[in-house]
Amino acid sequence: MKAHTLQLRIAEFNIELTSTSKLELDEGYDHFIVKQSPYINIFIACFAGFPQGLSLKSNDLVFEATNDQQKFYSIYKQSDRLIFILYNQKKINTVQQIGYLDASFSHWKIFSQGINGVIQPMVYPMGPILLHYITLQSDAAMMHASCAFDGINGRLFSGFSGSGKSTISKIWADAGSQIINDDRLIIRYQQDAYYVYNTPMYYSDRSKKASLNSIFLISHAPENKIKRLKGAEAITKVMAFSIQNNFDPFWVEKRLEFFSKLCDQISVYSLGFVPNENVVKFILENELK
């Protein structure tokens, strides 16, 4: 049977998907597909249909992502491997995909329902979950954040939903900066510096990278105000907006170490802002040079 292979390069991580079924990805992945990577970080074997004989016990359940209405995904641990059960967000309690992740975090098996011999292994939320587990094995983290890059400085904006991440990025874009992404970013530490990368979204966008120079934890305010955050306060507030599955102490310790070093090297600010162009000048006048 013919093997289908796709290679992706996201945040400079190389990912290879293989299957005997035809593979299809959302258009957001279009610009992340590469012809041939010199090395592969993550191998993903993709299958049509769900695995037979999978038996999950409630004792094996280590993590659940839910809200009041429905489950998003559940994680079970059996021996050394993690088993992800992902639910269809339009059909409550209907399994959409199943994923197996080995102990090295480098080999996935993803099981999806095929349609006419075609499978979509990276359909949301599998894509972001997979990227989160890639960051865990590296000096990296995934953030709920936007980022604007003025050609020299990358400014990352994070905060609660509705705090204005897209708005402030758009204001910086109108002032000439490039938006790296306005929702989900990967921060990586490479060669003594921090960089921000976009990740595939529901829309098509090319792969982008920017140096990270400052982090702003934003909220709407009646007037622009800024405060530098340091130490434990900076670390906890930045880490709170990262993607986390905090069921394993080993990974939590690694995360704390990553954010401690990040906040030691990168300036972190609390920023209350009025959503107009004045905030650009305000930041330029108040951030550390």
Partner: protein, 93 residues
């Protein structure tokens, strides 16, 4: 919250020392708790690091008095503030 109850909870948190402060992250099986990270000041850190099930409040009052050379009322106040704050920790597990 009693000291022995608090001691039992301790293993359900991961901590990191940052200067004189302590960051506390709850090990959680639910994504809705992921934003709940805590910081403790110097006295909170001292109590947390010396938690033992057999001790009582007076032990920690004396510990703070000895460490920081403060009077008993202030030390009591510190311990009570710590216990009040920490009493919500198990809401996040």
């Amino acid at each position: 919250m009693k000291i022995d109850e608090l001691y039992k909870l301790k293993s359900l948190f991961v901590t990191r020392e940052v200067g004189d402060e302590l960051i506390i992250v709850p090990l959680s099986g639910n994504v809705s708790n992921m934003n709940h990270l805590f910081t403790m000041n110097e006295t909170g850190k001292l109590i947390w690091e010396n938690l033992r099930p057999e001790e009582n409040i007076e032990y920690y009052v004396k510990l703070i008095m000895d460490e920081y050379e403060v009077d008993k009322d202030l030390a009591y106040n510190d311990v009570n503030m710590f216990l009040a704050r920490i009493s919500h920790l198990d809401d996040n597990l």
